[in-house]
Amino acid sequence: MTKKPNIHYIHYLSQTAKERLVGGFFILSLFIIAGLVGMKVKSSNIFDEVITYHTHMQTAQGISLETLVNISGIEAGKVSSIEITDDNSIHIQFFIYKRFEKLIRTDSKGVLSKLSLIGNSVIMITAGRSSLPLLPSGAEIIIDEPITTNDLMEGMLPVINDLDSIASYLSDIIAVIEPDSIEASTESIKTILADIEGMTAHISSGQGLVGKALYDTQQAEKVTESLNSTAASLAGVEQRVTEIEPLINSLTALADESGQLIIDMRASLKKIDAELEHLPEIINNAETLLQSTGETVQGVQKIWPLSTVMPQPSKVLVIDGDSLHD
């Protein structure tokens, strides 16, 4: 038994066999294309009989000539025209395939899908009761309009207002802090400290503060002055404390809110951490993907007609004649 050489079968086929093979591929492709065209024609209902209805809307958000019409979740038709009427409302004409006609009764109503807000709109019509008469062709079906972007914005307005009030609340807290009051308090404290310093100096001189205060009238006057000054400072401090009290209360509330914020942040960080654990795996996958893409691109470059225009990688593996200029 003769063994066939270990090369691709194409190399030992005759010219006629090669031509037949190519012809076979060509005819097979033609058949497949014809079949696909037929399937497409069938699935797109081009030759189906249709019934037309229409509706009026104030805002046709997301509706175009590509918008589908659903009856009880089944794709049953499409929008055929959109016009603007004299009273600035929008007149929409749509059709449904004849085979769905019996689903449209006089109590049938329509609604525009909520997804119209983000672009994908579908007119959904409810199937009517079978006891009621069929809706004739050309009749109007009332379609409920979904919320618009403006409605959505209006809904968000209270939230924005709340944010605004929080900002003004913070502004009030900051406004309570008066630089002049703080300066006055600081001055008073400075005076107290100076007096205490004087008293300490007298004690360190060895004369004894209490004796001097009792028997030395001059000293007693000084002590009285100090006490008066201290009393005035204390009154100032008390006033500052009273003023600062709402600030402290606000800070306490702020601290509570910050606590909640920190809890939320921790939760978010945990989530990020969990996501990061998958990062090396993602990188590996991306690397494999890139490698595969590189190989695919290299493969595609070898395919006609790209192979005729793309420079093919050199088969030379050894550095040649380069050290001549060294």
């Binding site: 691709h8 497949i32 593996l317 050894v318 001549l324 200029h325 060294d326």
Partner: protein
């Protein structure tokens, strides 16, 4: 379903029209070749350290399938990549690991190593058995002309008596030179004139060679030319010009990550400053 059928149809048609290699080869054979090609690519971009890494990987892969020819090719490339940035330790290590190096290609490589080390006489002796007969031989191919260039260069640097004959023959071939060959010829011409005691002409020719090398953006050759031009200026007692040229050469060597030449240039610059 339709999309899937269309995709399948496209794939069938693409395969039918493809001109890709029909004889499948094992991946273990393609992988080291791919490494070698990557190495060649970065070598041509003057990234010799990266090229060294690719060739080393290729060598390991060739060893893993016991491909002796591939191993030899990888070692050859490894030597060239290391020689380009004067890493003589690595060059010698690889060179010593090659068993049979008696053919002309390996003899030339060994001669190039000796030349790069500055052992010009030994380099010329290493190619003595493969010298072209310049009086009778007709040079047809570019490879033959390159051979003449090599022996003229080695002879000139080794100050061999044959250098004049080689140079004259090279001069006859001048009209058919490529730009790179013209640049090298000008450079060798400059050396020839210097040896003949004509430093002015030598300077002019070397400057022309430098211009030609710049048009080719051949970094190593530009650096070599700058260094040789600096030597010529030094001989003309113009140390400032020499210094400026050496600084320019230093920047190129730094880009090439050629530590050996950088150290040598620093020494030369220091000597000029003193």
């Amino acid at each position: 379903m339709i999309k899937l059928c269309l995709a399948l149809l496209c794939i069938v048609n693409l395969i039918a029209c493809s001109s890709h290699q029909v004889i499948e080869r094992p991946y273990a054979m393609i992988q080291p070749e791919s490494m070698m090609q990557k190495g060649l690519q970065v070598y041509q971009q003057d990234d010799y350290l990266q090229a060294h890494q690719f060739f080393t990987q290729a060598l390991v892969l060739y060893q893993s399938i016991d491909d002796e020819v591939g191993q030899k090719q990888a070692k050859f490339n490894l030597i060239k990549a290391n020689l380009a940035i004067h890493r003589f330790k690595q060059v010698d290590t690889v060179l010593n690991s090659v068993e049979e190096t008696n053919n002309a290609e390996w003899s030339l490589l060994k001669a190039n190593v000796l030349f790069a080390k500055g052992q010009y006489k030994q380099a010329f002796q290493a190619i003595a058995s493969d010298l072209l007969d310049v009086k009778t031989q007709v040079l047809i191919t570019s490879k033959q002309r390159n051979q003449l260039f090599i022996q003229t260069k080695f002879a000139l640097f080794a100050d061999a008596k044959e250098s004049s004959v080689f140079y004259q023959r090279l001069k006859q071939e001048q009209p058919v030179f490529t730009i790179a060959q013209q640049a090298l010829f000008k450079r060798l011409d400059a050396h020839y004139h210097r040896q003949q005691g004509q430093p002015e002409q030598a300077l002019e020719l070397m400057s022309m060679a430098l211009t030609l090398y710049k048009s080719q953006a051949n970094r190593r050759a530009i650096a070599n030319c700058l260094e040789e031009l600096a030597t010529l200026y030094q001989l003309q007692h113009q140390p400032n010009k020499a210094k400026s040229l050496l600084k320019r050469a230093f920047i190129i060597r730094k880009w090439l990550k050629d530590d050996y030449k950088m150290a040598a240039l620093q020494l030369k610059l220091k000597a000029l400053q003193d």
